[in-house]
């Protein structure tokens, strides 16, 4: 059965159009509801962190935004335009592959396991998207890639293959690779979870500098509460496919209102 999408706007207009809007988004795997009628706005330049127990749907939020997962109900908008859907004869219909490819180029993603291309050097990893997808000239793409590797502090390793790099170094290259596409929204999916404790700082420092110096819209899923508290504009606590509680980091961490949030935060604190 086709979902009735007539209640969803073709595009978002007016003042204060959010960079990202989830509008009543539902994701199911069979009978299991992973996300239930999720509404979530992220303003331009905002850094939103998603926390919550595993299975709460937090990674799914990022994967849906990257269009790696389809959604069952609702519409996601990026920069006012539908991401998961497209307009056809004045109505919203599920986006086809071509539309998705164009739409998702506004979004960059870094993964838990980096997923660098092993047959390319750090520099080539960062040039691949601009050259192959954006059609940029090699010299220009190289310049951009070198700038970004400089930004993440990986200039000296630019000719190394990923297998020669530590996890922290690989993740920094992965951040540069995603930034090379000049996305409007950056997604960080547990980017420090696979790292040894002593190199986590080098990755969080890069993200911190992005927050401070660049007006990028970012969504981050993390287990590092201290880091989340430090750099987020807003923190969302997910539980059971819903946002249980959200707010400024000092409020959510300092004075959580809901019982589940309190339980989760104290459990995490004990584990630290």
């Amino acid at each position: 059965m086709m979902e009735d999408l007539s209640n969803y706007p073709l595009e978002l207009t007016g003042d204060n159009v959010p960079m990202v809007r989830f509008l009543k988004v539902t994701k199911r795997y069979g009978d299991l509801v992973v996300l239930d009628q999720l509404d979530l706005d992220v303003a331009e330049g905002e850094m939103v962190t998603i926390i919550g127990p595993s299975g709460s749907g937090k990674t799914t939020v990022l994967r849906m935004l990257m269009t790696l997962e389809t959604i069952n109900e609702g519409v996601i908008y990026v920069d006012g335009k539908p991401l998961t859907h497209m307009e056809k004869n004045g109505k919203l219909v599920p986006a086809d592959r071509k539309y998705l490819r164009k739409a998702r180029s506004q979004i960059g993603m870094c993964f838990q396991h980096f997923n660098l291309f092993p047959h390319m050097t750090a520099l080539e990893n960062c040039m691949e998207g601009p050259v192959q997808v954006l059609g940029m000239k090699k010299a220009e793409a190289r310049e951009r890639a070198e700038e970004l590797l400089e930004l993440v502090g990986m200039s000296d390793k630019r000719d190394q293959h990923p297998s020669r790099l530590s996890g922290g170094q690989q993740q920094r290259v992965a951040i540069a690779r995603a930034l090379a596409m000049r996305p409007k929204v950056m997604l960080f999916d547990e980017v420090t979870s696979a790292l040894d404790p002593e190199v986590i700082g080098e990755v969080t420092n890069v993200i911190r500098s992005l927050v401070e110096k660049h007006n990028l819209t970012m969504l981050m899923v993390t287990h590092q509460m201290g880091f989340a508290k430090d750099i987020s504009d807003r923190v969302c606590f997910f539980f059971d496919g819903k946002i249980e509680e959200q707010g400024a980091p000092e409020d959510l961490f300092g004075n959580p209102q809901k019982e589940r949030t309190q339980q989760f935060l104290s459990a995490v604190k004990e584990a630290d």
Binding site: R104, M109, N115, H119, V133, M181
Partner: protein, 221 residues
């Protein structure tokens, strides 16, 4: 006749046969690789019809005897108006047969590339074609190389069957020499050694070298 004298007398004919066998081997290998790549990719297609065509092809060429396929291509196709010279019919049959086996290696190799690589390429908005060509296949290729080494040795040995449609390869020459000299042990012994040397000292080292080069490119070696 001593073995030395035997070689002096018939060496050139063994050499000529070996060159024909080498030609059969290289052409059949090239064909097998192309077919394997195409059929392997087709087998991974979302489109049921495309997948079906690949399955039928693989089933037919893997499920029936190479010798029968060779006879079909050489003796039966002319009845449908397609006549191939025997040299061509020889490597086409061997290449098509081994290509069917290779298709499974290609499919397996592609599927062995971690899901994260597909997702990373997807996240960069790469088109499916570019993703396959630039990201997945180069990695799949490295994973496939060891089994391809086996397959190519198999292919080399299978080229001996083309002697049965009178392609003057190594096996054909050996049979002729045996027919006129009746020195079976020397004749087929020599042929045996040549096949072995070809496989063991040319094909295998080449594949090892290729593996090393590719691994180095991946930064693994």
């Amino acid at each position: 006749m001593s073995y030395i004298e035997f070689l002096k007398e018939y060496g050139p004919r063994f050499w000529d046969g070996t060159l024909v066998t080498a030609g059969q081997f290289f052409l059949a290998s090239a064909l097998a690789i192309v077919i394997a790549l195409i059929a392997g990719l087709m087998k991974l297609s979302r489109n049921g019809l495309i997948r079906g065509i690949a399955v039928v092809y693989i089933e037919i060429f893997r499920g029936t005897s190479l010798l029968v396929q060779l006879y079909w291509i050489f003796f039966v196709l002319p009845l449908f108006g397609l006549t191939l010279p025997k040299f061509t019919a020889g490597f086409v049959a061997v290449g098509m047969n081994l290509g069917a086996y290779g298709a499974e290696l290609v499919r397996g190799g592609i599927q062995s590339v971690p899901k994260g690589q597909w997702e990373a390429a997807y996240a960069l908005s790469m088109s499916p074609m570019r993703r396959m060509w630039r990201i997945i296949l180069p990695q799949a290729f490295v994973n496939m190389l060891p089994p391809w080494g086996n397959l190519l040795i198999e292919l080399l040995k299978n080229t001996a069957l083309v002697a049965l449609i009178s392609v003057s390869d190594l096996m054909f020459e050996a049979k002729q020499i045996n027919g006129s000299t009746f020195l079976s042990a020397q004749t087929f012994g020599t042929a045996l050694i040549i096949y072995y040397v070809f496989a063991r000292f040319i094909v295998t080292p080449f594949m090892r070298w290729l593996e090393l080069v590719m691994r180095r490119k991946l930064g693994r070696a």
